[in-house]
């Protein structure tokens, strides 16, 4: 792991901060740097540091979170299939247009996972080949895992149009 961090520090000085908790090492890229540098960091980790496996893409909404500077975060969980090391790259984004570069050119597995983050948080992934909603219906307008979306919804469920057999 020190080798990986040295490579990243040499290539992207000042672009990220490092955090660690238990055995999780995190590379955190603030919202002003993330659109420019996230893809290059992921590419460097994949091509030069051996993190060839994208484990997960997780979206987080930090609205009213203690000491949070930016609102949205997308965590790319990476793993090295040879050494079983793990690394987490966390990129932040902010309203009104949360946008990050897509990792699909690096990992095909990012396709659906990024679609889910878009569906749930409204973070747009630039360069994604097919960015549509995946779990929610296409006509849904909110982003349900955002913290300002209430647990019981905004009434969408009760306002579904009913289709009769004749109309279908």
């Amino acid at each position: 792991m020190p080798g990986t961090m040295d490579t990243l520090l040499a290539k992207f000085p000042g672009a990220f901060t490092i955090a660690a908790f238990k055995d999780n090492a995190r590379v955190e890229i603030p919202a002003d740097k993330a659109p420019g540098v996230l893809f290059a960091v992921l590419k460097c980790l994949k091509d030069e540091c051996g993190f060839d496996f994208l484990v997960d893409v997780a979206g987080i909404d930090y609205l009213n979170y203690p000491n949070a500077a930016d609102r949205y975060a997308v965590v790319y969980a990476l793993a090295n299939t040879k050494t079983a090391q793990r690394l987490f790259v966390k990129a932040f984004a902010n309203d009104p247009d949360p946008e990050l570069p897509s990792a699909v050119p690096l990992w095909k597995g990012a396709d659906w996972m990024e679609r889910e983050v878009y569906d749930m948080f409204g973070v747009v992934f630039a360069g994604h080949p097919d960015l549509r909603r995946i779990l929610m219906p296409a006509e849904f307008t909110s982003y349900p895992l955002r913290k300002d979306y209430p647990l019981r919804g905004l009434g969408e469920r009760h306002n579904f149009p009913t289709i009769t057999r004749a109309e279908s």
């Binding site: 484990v55 997960d56 979206g59 969980a77 990992w107 889910e116 929610m136 647990l151």
Partner: protein
């Protein structure tokens, strides 16, 4: 979702009028659960497959932000409902990592044994249902006969057959009795015969082999590139098993009891073989573990103030009563660090991980699931292209898509 809004119309242009579109699901016997495929067909050959999912989306991850660490176990049970206990282990493994709890040796062993039983149950359903879809009803019945015994074990241990809800932060709901150990021993002794029956029915069954060999081939590079894990990746030659790579719970003690099963074919038959062999390894793990369950308490000590005290302590001692109160009042409960953690376990379907963000309160700020079914189903369109429509059940069955986990 209307067909017009899906990215299929442009593929079959006006010059390809011989292509036609077939709607497969959401309710179809071969999907087993609720998922929908829109297949563009040339005769019986699939030109393009577009999955449309989300029919079972019930906001599990949103509920994870509203329920506390113990309550949410009932929800993770219902994600991969074929092997629910493995999900519980994974969830509480992550929560305990966040809270910094080291569970007792007895709890580690019990969780491992029950999670391996859940893995056997999951693999049996996957193999049995895959064979059923290809016309082999007998193997399905043999497999379900054995699953019944596993349900009996869970019923004896927790009182619930399908969704045990047995795991708790820092331990288990209750300790198991000797009856449960007897049931597990009986299962381990009688199961190899049933396993051999299924193997004899399917491994060299010409219809089964013809319909699975060379179907839905996933290469090793593709498996890594598309984030596949578990039996799907191992059938493609990716040697990655979290039980060996980052041993958790009691697996450090059980390393000599099992091997990582891999194949190189990457097709449906290889995935079937890997699952069948993994069942054997799981039986070996259970056999080694069940004779070595350490004595002692199943929950961490009451003084650590993280586990629900047993009822005797609650009703007969002031400390137990206070502790019970502390853990059930919604504004008391646990005080995790303001941080975030990812932990994963190897479940039957692959790497099941949780990314838990905590704001210091007893509920997760964010409880992200890494759902193996979701990630494996993303590979489905590329596995299907160029195959026949009758291969759809074979590939779906071999990927073991559980729609509740797919949509959450």
């Amino acid at each position: 979702m209307p067909v017009e809004s899906l990215p299929i119309a442009d593929e079959a242009g006006a010059d390809q009028e011989f292509l036609y579109t077939l709607n497969f699901g959401p309710q179809h016997p071969a999907t087993h659960t609720t998922l929908r495929l829109i297949l563009t067909l040339d005769g019986e050959t699939i030109v393009k497959a577009v999955p449309d999912i989300g029919f079972l989306h019930s906001g599990f991850e949103k509920l994870g932000e509203d329920l506390d660490f113990n309550q949410y176990v009932t929800i993770v049970d219902r994600m991969n409902y074929i092997s629910p206990f493995a999900n519980e282990v994974s969830w509480h493994h992550t929560v305990e990592k966040l809270l910094g709890i080291e569970v007792t040796p007895r709890c580690k062993y019990l969780r491992v044994i029950l999670a391996e039983l859940a893995r056997i149950s999951d693999h049996l359903l996957c193999v049995g249902a895959a064979a059923l879809d290809l016309g082999a009803l007998t193997a399905f019945l043999y497999a379900f006969n054995e699953r019944e015994k596993i349900y009996n074990v869970f019923e004896a241990a927790s009182g619930q057959r399908f969704h045990p809800g047995f795991s708790r932060v820092g331990g288990l709901m209750n300790d198991i009795t000797d009856d449960v150990v007897g049931l597990i021993r009986h299962f381990v002794n009688t199961f190899p015969k049933a396993h051999a029956d299924v193997v004899r029915l399917l491994n060299r069954n010409r219809i089964f082999v013809d319909r699975t060999k060379g179907i839905g081939v996933l290469s090793k590079d593709e498996a890594i590139n598309t984030s596949c894990s578990g039996p799907v990746a191992r059938a493609s030659g990716v040697v990655r098993d979290l039980r060996k790579d980052e041993p958790y719970l009691a697996y450090p003690d059980l390393q000599s009891a099992f091997k990582v099963v891999c194949a190189t074919g990457g097709d449906c038959y290889a995935r079937y073989l890997v699952r069948m062999e993994e069942i054997v390894e799981s039986v070996n793990i259970i056999r080694a573990a069940v004779e070595n369950i350490p004595a002692g308490p199943v929950n961490v000590a009451l003084n650590d103030k993280v586990t629900i005290p047993d009822k005797t302590a609650t009703y007969r001692s002031i400390e137990g009563l206070i502790q019970h109160f502390e853990l059930f009042m919604w504004n008391r409960q646990w005080t995790p660090p303001v941080n975030e953690v990812y932990a994963a376990t190897e479940t039957a379907n692959g790497e099941l991980g949780y990314y838990v963000v905590s704001d210091g309160g007893p509920r997760a700020w964010r409880a992200r699931t890494r759902p193996p079914s979701f990630i494996h189903f993303a590979v489905f369109p590329q596995l299907m292209e160029g195959h026949q429509i009758s291969d759809v059940p074979a590939v779906l069955g071999s990927l073991n898509i559980i729609a509740a986990e797919l949509d959450r």
